[in-house]
Homo-oligomer: 167 residues x 2
């Protein structure tokens, strides 16, 4: 049965949530009519790192709106979560939770790659953000698309477009 | 001064060398007039994972033929080596050593990225291989360009071209 499905581990964040708190949204390319921050993303919303329990909160269903997810069992999901967590400073999967029903309605991933070149620099690659497109759960509320800069700034790396093979 | 510069750690491989032994070159797209393998790459050549001591064997000078490396101190290099090693099953930096003088004359990197999508699959991205272009050290010997498949097959992942942001 592998990793525990309940208990304290199920709500353990994939990465340190304090990283999100340090984000300065005023530096984001996207401008907001109402100021937002990771701590104040909007009413009824919570921005936080992915947790194991998000398997049961619609995380994979959300991703499946963007691409093929396949039939991923909870055990597979937990194993992959653990593998990502075992890589220090690498995987920053961030979700938006609808606090009214606990469902994951937005997600973005930043992957940090370590390099020897450019003075032992790092490269950040942000995956395309996924967000709830049905809208039923957010009726009467403007759909928020989380800016890629949220995850991009998380690890202190400038988010970059994918580059063709660069050392 | 941080990590040891001499001693047993300096020759410790970045990843398990047995992975290279398992590579089947007959499956490589590149065809070789003389059969090669990781164990028999050619006379005077050795294929192996990166080691800490390669800082003093021209590894970064080799990369600088492809792109900007900058002024990387040995301490920075060792720190980055350690950081890569701390990420399980992720960084596969492979070099070709000229056994006549111990210099690194070829290098390729495969980076494995773990994903939730496609049945919790992994994606491998191979960097552009670097190889000695001066030729002085290999005079009289045909210059060998190590196929990207060498690194690509190392971790059991099909090497792929960089893809635009895909979960």
């Amino acid at each position: 049965m592998g990793a525990p499905r309940e208990g304290i581990l199920s709500e353990e964040p994939l990465y340190d949530p304090k990283i999100l708190e340090r984000l300065d949204f005023s530096k984001a390319r996207t401008k907001f009519s109402t100021p937002v921050s990771a701590a104040r993303p909007g009413e009824g919303l919570r921005v936080r790192p992915l947790r194991r329990a998000d398997y049961r909160r619609g995380f994979l269903q959300l991703l499946s709106q963007l691409t093929s997810v396949g039939d991923v069992s909870e055990e597979q999901f937990l194993k992959r979560f653990d593998a990502m967590q075992a890589c220090p400073n690498t995987y920053y999967v961030t979700v938006i939770e609808d606090t009214t029903n606990g469902q994951v309605i937005g997600a973005s991933t930043l992957v940090i790659e370590q390099k020897f070149i450019h003075g032992c620099n790092v490269r950040g690659r942000a995956e395309r953000p996924a967000s709830e497109s049905r809208g039923e759960s957010r009726s009467g509320t403007e759909q928020r698309h989380w800016p890629r800069t949220v995850a991009g700034g998380a690890a202190g790396a400038a988010p970059t477009q994918p580059q063709p093979r660069g050392w």
